[in-house]
């Protein structure tokens, strides 16, 4: 309906290879960006209290979108299942904590970006077995990473500077004179900071998956034997996916603790969180960056909105609503796998396809 593609012809491959070759898509993205950049920081979300909207919804959703993109690179684009996401985020968070301790004067943005590399290294290490083992066996390997790292976060006291509480507490840091971490940081500042990371990392992920690297991943995912016969080196390819994926998880873990939570213990990185992230990816759509956005937003906000609605409309105990939303999400996962195994992203694609040929059906 909104699409006017007649006359949008391409005279070069570069035009074809843009992220959004259709003009209307570019306009749509620009509108979303404008809302995210100029509306949300000042007004929050309609119908919700501002601080709540920012702290409980927008900031975590943005952070988890980064996680979901990262996990999607591994699961959706490369076909390697991982249940160690939570732990890899933890690596990023602890690395960030240690780096701020050692380099208190370095800009926090640089530190967060750097802590991703630690996570990437750890991720690649645990990705090593993926060369020999596949499918469900790999789940076990990533669980090994999950539990081993969780254990480390408790037992290796150096990681949390021997803090008796066992938690990491985030120091206050500024960027361009604005406080971005710690309790004193304004929600809008923190939101814009994580959004900045998200935009940067989205562009990079988009670039990677459309190019040689991403094709290598997808080749391994779709048919690893054929990929190898075409000349793809499985180890290098899989490890790069593990590393990139873990980088994203690491950065999002650091952001989660530093910009959102302010302090964290091992529970923030446990296996249940790993499941949560996997749900985001499945629900949003395997192998789709757009899907990661939708999945993260949906899986995170759905229980919150359920709770809010239950409280406001029916005065239901939030704990019950939490369980109801657990069941609902489980059921939705099963439902979407049955109806559309490629998640919300595919549904959106179908809708878009309909809009493009409107008023026709096909």
């Amino acid at each position: 309906m909104f699409y006017r593609e007649a006359g949008q012809f391409k005279t070069s491959y570069k035009q074809y290879m843009q992220a959004f070759p259709i003009r209307e898509d570019r306009i749509g993205i620009a509108i979303w960006l404008a809302i995210a950049l100029f509306y949300v920081p000042f007004f929050g979300l309609p119908g919700l209290e501002y601080t709540f909207a920012m702290n409980a919804i927008m900031i975590p959703v943005v952070i988890f979108t980064i996680t979901a993109i990262g996990l999607n690179i591994l699961v959706g684009f490369t076909g390697q299942i991982s249940l160690g996401t939570g732990a890899f985020m933890g690596v990023g968070a602890y690395a960030c904590y240690k780096l701020t301790t050692y380099f208190p004067d370095v800009n926090i943005i640089i530190i967060i970006l750097a802590s991703g590399f630690v996570s990437a290294a750890v991720g690649a290490m645990f990705g090593l077995p993926s060369l020999r083992i596949k499918g469900f066996y790999l789940v076990v390997a990533t669980l090994a990473a999950q539990f081993f790292l969780e254990w480390c976060f408790i037992r290796v006291e150096w990681l949390y500077n021997y803090n008796p509480s066992g938690a990491i507490e985030v120091p206050q840091r500024e960027v361009f004179g604005l406080i971005v971490t710690g309790a004193a940081a304004e929600p809008a500042t923190r939101y814009l900071m994580v959004l900045g990371f998200l935009i940067l990392l989205t562009i990079i992920a988009g670039n990677l998956v459309r190019g040689r690297v991403g094709r290598g991943w997808m080749m391994i995912r779709d048919m690893d034997i054929a990929a190898e016969l075409i000349g793809v080196r499985p180890l290098r390819t899989k490890l790069s996916a593990f590393a990139v994926s873990s980088y994203y998880c690491g950065v999002s873990g650091a952001l989660m603790v530093f910009v959102w939570l302010g302090a964290a213990e091992v529970e923030s990185f446990d296996v249940n969180h790993s499941f949560l992230y996997l749900f985001m990816v499945i629900f949003g759509g395997l192998g789709s960056i757009t899907g990661s956005y939708m999945g993260a937003a949906f899986i995170w906000t759905f229980p919150i909105l359920m709770k809010e609605m239950g409280k406001r409309l029916f005065d239901i105990d939030p704990i019950i609503m939490e369980n109801v939303s657990l069941v609902a999400i489980g059921a939705l996962i099963v439902f979407i796998l049955i109806k559309e195994p490629h998640g919300l992203a595919r549904l959106w694609q179908l809708v878009k396809q309909k809009l493009r040929i409107w008023p026709f059906a096909h």
Partner: protein, 319 residues
């Protein structure tokens, strides 16, 4: 001799030698938890063999069945009636899973089915907490006439304590395994199930529909889960944290192979005994709590050398 080599390679064995009673105690503890791991793994194997589905929800089924049993009893239902009702619930669960999930996902890639069982896990957790509440509960051990108390064995001046519950657990588990073995080899349905594991077409020739087979296997896995739930609940308590422990069935499977019943048992025992020994004798070197990951790391190392498991066959890749 000192330093790390001594600590790792000599000292633990020296301790075992010096305190044999304690060593036997550790072995026994490991043996019992190994049996329980094996039980959970058995549930996985049943389903995987029959339908090729990696049932991630097996762990939560253990918790769910235990909760149902305890919950029913708390409502005033007599213990053995509650047991029978719980069996019924597990059947209904198996039926619903087949009806609502499996039937609609036939011919989908394994990974999709796997993820569906993760969704199922969520439903069972949410549903369980919703209905029975999230707090920890004690198993109705006495009511089910499971012996408590303990016997003491004093070999050569030492002391080894055998909890009766543990003995019962081992015995019940053994009986269940023998029962299943008989079911598979002696009954028509059991033979059909085995046939299906080899060849899905075969079920048709036996005259049982694939859908029925699925219900039966899921029900069987449910029974196994219930037994595991009771025994585990009796040893510790019934709580959702059990679910995480139940995940240890995964490394067990890796060791034993996804389709081998004996493998599940042997794997369970190796993991159970191994992790106890490691925790007690080597754990202090790391600062304790190593039980949490030992099983996985062992499985990981194992995978690198024998990806098909102890009893699996070598995979020939075809183009």
């Amino acid at each position: 001799m000192s330093g790390i080599f001594y600590d790792v390679l000599a000292d633990p064995f020296l301790q075992m030698w010096q305190m044999p009673d304690f060593f036997i105690q550790v072995l026994w503890e490991g043996f019992v938890s190994g049996i329980l791991y094996a039980l959970i793994a058995l549930g996985f194997v049943l389903i995987f063999k029959a339908s090729g589905i990696f049932n991630f929800a097996q762990g939560i089924m253990v918790v769910f069945s235990g909760l149902t049993l305890v919950g029913l009893h708390a409502l005033g239902v007599p213990a053995f009636v509650a047991l029978i009702i719980t069996l019924g619930v597990m059947y209904v669960l198996a039926y619903l899973v087949e009806r609502l999930v499996l039937r609609n996902l036939v011919n989908q890639p394994d990974i999709i089915l796997f993820m569906a069982t993760i969704g199922l896990t969520n439903i069972l957790i949410g549903g369980g907490q919703w209905i029975f509440g999230g707090e920890t509960k004690s198993m109705i051990t006495a009511e089910l006439m499971i012996p408590t108390g303990s016997s003491v064995w004093e070999p050569g001046g030492g002391i080894v304590i055998f909890q009766h519950i543990d003995i019962a657990a081992a015995l019940i588990a053994a009986m269940l395994i023998v029962g299943l073995a008989l079911f598979f080899s002696k009954t028509k349905v059991g033979r059909a199930l085995r046939a299906v594991a080899d060849d899905h077409q075969a079920s048709l020739s036996v005259g049982i529909s694939l859908n029925q087979i699925w219900v039966i296997t899921w029900f069987a896995a449910g029974i196994v889960a219930l037994v595991a739930g009771i025994m585990w609940g009796a040893r510790s308590d019934v709580s959702f944290s059990l679910q995480i422990i139940a995940l240890k069935a995964l490394p067990v499977l890796v060791l034993g192979g996804f389709t081998s019943v004996p493998g599940a048992i042997v794997g369970g025992l190796i993991i159970g005994i191994g992790e106890k020994l490691f925790e007690i004798y080597w754990g202090p070197l790391f600062g304790s709590g190593v039980e949490g990951w030992f099983a996985y790391v062992i499985a990981l190392v194992f995978l690198l050398f024998r990806p098909q498991g102890l009893f699996g066959e070598k995979i020939i890749e075809r183009v």
